[in-house]
């Protein structure tokens, strides 16, 4: 071993989900030198495939009100640091006609329960619950079947999980962190004493490989955690989790004004959620044993959700499903417990106990509590590294969260249409002005490439240059390009050419990326195809054949 040399960084973070980017940001804000590695893309796993809510945790109210208090408080913090990313989702819990007594008990129960929750609502700018009569429910949601005897509303906040992760990471980068995306850690290197000294990594696209030395390594890889821990010679079970697959179906428009909560055939709670410009139907929770890099919803999971919602909202049968998300929760490990009864708590595993001093695994957790989890992890790191800087992630704004932009300003200055401007402002907050600046410098970039979302060329180029996107899939994750009803039929190839152009690759490479994206998305839709979408799928296939031909690898000549 050479004499003690100064390591490249203080902390290596493995994983670009909400926990990994959260820790990287916290470390960077406290002045620690940090490098982040992500095997796939930012928010590729559970973080980008969640229900998209920063909820206040009403389910903990009855047995652990402290958790509810912390969740609501943190929801308030996130609203302050990223106001542009949050949108209100009012929930409706209808109670259907049973016996007079049962109905009354149910309604009184809900009323009392949410009265308790109301106490925490001010922490997150939430509204108090309302007890509604049957006819009021029917007026608010005419699509509900007619037997509702009453119900309650309560208030939650929605968020785009990908934008949250990207925001955290960009903030970290702007405070001195470095990050490599599509770069897998191949080994967690340990010195003679067993102490962790850094990581070896390999870029999955370029094949470039290297070593980054560090004083501590954080395994924030969610469902991948046991695999990652094993790269450091630690038994996978030392960082074990209970992988719970959850899927969502998204539908082509907002079908309801309220999120509707109901129960599935097995008594689990599921919901139909108006989310951004779509509706989201979710979610499932099943043990998962498959490949984490390729989590796809199955027909059975989709049908389970449809069956649950159609009992209260029958017109869902005619709704047009345009895609599915699948993700795997890194739930805390427990044997002999039903998936749904598993704790949503989080834990930090210090692998010093397994002989790997300096390696930590973050297990469990949920989107809504990511900031606190990251803060706890960073506290441990700061303690280890003798850093005494104050905690700031709850007050320092995320990129774009520091400046309010009126979408109409974007309309007037950039000639965008109002929808384009509103969506752009949602995703980028104050940073939408930087996208606007691109358009003003090069008016051609104002072209709308994806009309469904919509997404402009300027935004595509912006996320390539500023947000580490290198493929069409990456761009889609950050902008929702190609996730509308047409499945990228009109925009993916063009986006491929733009990404290739912006990254100095050949147009053929751009087309290849676009095809990969479309194939991946089509696989994710196939389990949920209804009548309208079936025509679109057939048209998409025909168009691709017309453009690309029957052989795709004929570019050799």
């Amino acid at each position: 071993m050479p004499a003690e040399t100064r390591p490249d960084v203080d902390v290596v973070v493995i994983g670009g989900g909400v926990n990994g980017t959260g820790v990287a940001r916290d470390c960077a804000l406290r002045g620690l030198k940090v490098a982040l590695f992500e095997r796939n893309d930012i928010a590729f796993g559970a973080s980008g495939n969640s229900s998209g809510m920063i909820h206040g945790g009403p389910r903990y109210l009855s047995y652990d009100p402290d958790v509810t208090h912390t969740s609501c408080l943190d929801s308030g913090h996130i609203q302050r640091i990223a106001p542009h990313l949050l949108f209100r989702i009012p929930f409706l819990v209808p109670v259907f006609q049973r016996s007079l007594l049962a109905t009354k008990i149910a309604l009184t129960g809900y009323d009392a329960f949410f009265a308790l929750y109301d106490k925490y609502q001010p922490l997150k700018r939430g509204k108090s619950h309302v007890l509604l009569a049957g006819d009021e429910i029917r007026r608010l949601e005419p699509g509900l079947i007619g037997e509702a005897a009453g119900g309650v509303t309560f208030d939650e906040w929605g968020i785009d999980g990908v934008r949250l992760c990207v925001g955290s990471l960009i903030d970290a980068l702007e405070h001195g962190a470095t990050a490599r995306v599509h770069c897998t850690v191949t080994e967690i290197v340990r010195g003679e004493s067993g102490k962790v000294t850094g990581v070896r990594w390999r870029d999955r696209f370029t094949g470039e490989a290297g070593t980054t030395t560090a004083r501590a390594v954080v395994n924030a890889t969610g469902a991948w955690s046991p695999i990652t821990a094993s790269l450091g010679g630690v038994e996978p079970r030392a960082a074990r989790i209970r992988p719970g697959k959850g899927i969502h179906v998204y539908l082509d428009r907002r079908l309801t004004n309220y999120a509707i909560a109901t129960t599935a055939i097995d008594g689990r709670q599921v919901f139909l959620l108006p989310w951004q410009n779509t509706s989201v139907l979710g979610t499932t929770d099943d043990d998962f044993y498959g490949d984490l890099d390729d989590v796809v919803a199955t027909g059975d999971e989709v049908r389970y959700l449809f069956q649950a919602i159609e009992r209260v909202f029958p017109s869902i049968r005619a709704a047009r499903a345009i895609g599915t998300w699948g993700g795997v929760r890194p739930t805390l490990y427990a044997w002999g417990v039903n998936e749904d009864a598993l704790s949503r708590e989080h834990e930090i595993v210090d692998h010093a106990a397994h002989g790997a001093d300096g390696l930590y695994s973050m297990t469990g957790g949920k989107l809504a509590s990511y900031r606190i989890f990251a803060e706890e992890m960073t506290d441990v790191l700061a303690g280890r590294l003798g850093n005494q800087a104050p905690r700031r992630t709850h007050v320092a704004p995320l990129p774009g969260g520091d400046e309010q932009v009126d979408p109409m300003h974007l309309v007037q200055e950039g000639g965008m249409e109002a929808v384009t401007a509103t969506r752009l402002e949602y995703r980028h907050g104050g940073r939408s002005l930087r996208v606007l600046e691109r358009m003003l410098q090069n008016p051609r970039e104002a072209a709308v490439v994806c009309a469904c979302e919509p997404v402009t060329e300027a935004e595509i180029r912006y996320v390539v240059v500023n947000e580490l996107a290198v493929t069409v899939d990456d761009v889609s994750r950050r902008t929702r390009l190609g996730l509308g009803a047409c499945g990228g039929m009109r925009c993916a190839l063009r986006c491929g050419h733009i990404v290739a152009d912006a990254t100095g690759r050949s147009p053929g490479e751009g087309a290849r990326m676009a095809l990969e994206f479309m194939e991946r998305a089509a696989r994710r839709r196939a389990c949920a195809i209804g009548p309208e979408q079936a025509r679109q799928e057939a048209l998409g296939l025909a168009l691709l054949r017309s453009e690309v031909g029957v052989e795709r690898d004929d570019e050799a000549s």
Partner: protein, 388 residues
């Protein structure tokens, strides 16, 4: 002899044309645009590949193309520029499209117009990098052209933009802009903007004095609209009766077909040609949805079983909808009505053509060929008496 053709895409049009030419009294029933109205302007018999040359044409196809007008077909294959950056071979093309084959090794200007759907620089880059261009030394260069009047023209629908050039003054001005910005180029490649009337294209071409043509159309672009205009003229000239109606049911007997229509009196005929298209056109549809007993079926009531890969396609035994993850999405393209040649399997007076037929390539020329074959079989059917 009285015949009904259902569907007015390439297959139905070809069938009606051939039947009328053969002396039959033809009524063509159609409703809504189908797959041909969405086509790109490329004419294939089989899906194209870079290496295998497109199939040689038969005389029926050439005769139909000549009658229809607006299609350039053979004898040699052509080469078409696509938005994906491929320079792809095709058996033929809509005449508005630029044929690159005679321009191999030349310098081609790509009109750089501020339309949202168009990025001349990237298109030129991608086309220049394609294998054919690299092999033949053909170069594409974006050249700035003023073609818009007012910012709104940047985002109006492609068809609407193309239609602006049906006005002589706009066509002349566009041609003038192209002419004066050329800088030693050998040809012009433009977006699908050259008017909707064949005369507009000719007017602009004559004024530019260089080979000039379009890139392929996206779905819903002018290529499909031009086909529909040409079709309507052809069928009017052939005195085919056109009925804009939706079929609700089809009943067949040994020598007779009864076609029931929505809100219109039913039609009786000696025979019928079914050219209603596949899933894209809506001739076949997925009934029900996720969460109901669903299957692929004809878009109207008729007791014709569908076939997939040589087997009868039945409703799956589930109350919860077809799962295309299990079947594969390509099922949507292989499924259709089974035929013995052109005649619907088990029927005597019913013939099928185009995308509704199982296990046929979903291409425009194949649709035409099968339309003609269905018409010929219907005319030749010994059960039918000749006209008059």
């Amino acid at each position: 002899m009285k015949l009904v053709v259902i569907g007015a895409g390439a297959a139905g049009t070809a069938a009606a044309w051939f039947l009328a030419r053969g002396g039959a009294k033809v009524t063509l029933v159609h409703d809504r645009a189908g797959a041909t109205a969405l086509y790109s302007g490329a004419l294939d018999l089989t899906p194209w590949t870079e290496h295998a040359p497109p199939l040689v044409l038969d005389p029926d196809l050439s005769a139909f193309a000549a009658a229809l007008t607006g299609w350039a077909l053979g004898p040699k294959p052509c080469r078409i520029a696509t938005r994906s950056g491929a320079l792809r071979p095709a058996a033929g093309r809509a005449a508005a499209l630029l044929d690159l084959e005679p321009l191999a090794g030349r310098r081609i200007a790509v009109a750089d117009v501020d339309r949202d759907e168009w990025d001349a620089r990237l298109v030129a880059q991608a086309l220049s990098a394609s294998p054919w261009a690299a092999r033949t030394g053909t170069r594409f260069e974006a050249v700035r052209v003023r073609a818009l009047r007012g910012g709104h023209e940047r985002r109006i629908a492609l068809y609407d933009f193309a239609q602006l050039h049906d006005a002589a003054e706009r066509a002349d001005d566009f041609a003038e802009q192209l002419r004066k910005t050329t800088n030693g180029h050998d040809a012009w490649l433009v977006g699908p903007w050259l008017g909707t009337e064949p005369s507009s294209i000719e007017r602009i071409r004559a004024a530019v004095k260089l080979p000039l043509g379009e890139i392929n159309s996206p779905p819903g672009g002018p290529a499909g609209a031009r086909f529909e205009l040409a079709r309507d003229r052809l069928l009017a000239a052939q005195k085919v009766e056109i009925l804009n109606a939706r079929v609700s049911a089809l009943h067949t007997g040994p020598n007779q077909v009864r076609v029931e229509l929505v809100e219109k009196p039913a039609l009786e005929a000696d025979a019928a040609v079914l050219a209603i298209g596949g899933v894209v056109a809506g001739g076949l549809r997925l009934s029900g949805g996720v969460g109901s007993r669903a299957t692929v079926e004809l878009c109207f009531s008729a007791s014709l079983p569908l076939s997939l890969d040589g087997h009868t396609f039945d409703a799956p035994s589930t109350l919860h909808g077809v799962d295309f993850q299990a079947h594969g999405l390509r099922t949507l393209e292989r499924i259709g009505v089974a035929t013995d040649g052109a005649r619907v399997h088990g029927e005597r007076a019913l013939f099928a053509a185009g995308d509704v037929v199982a296990a046929r390539p979903r291409t425009v020329l194949e649709a035409v060929r099968s339309g003609i074959a269905a018409a010929r079989a219907a005319l030749g059917s010994r059960l039918l008496t000749p006209a008059q």
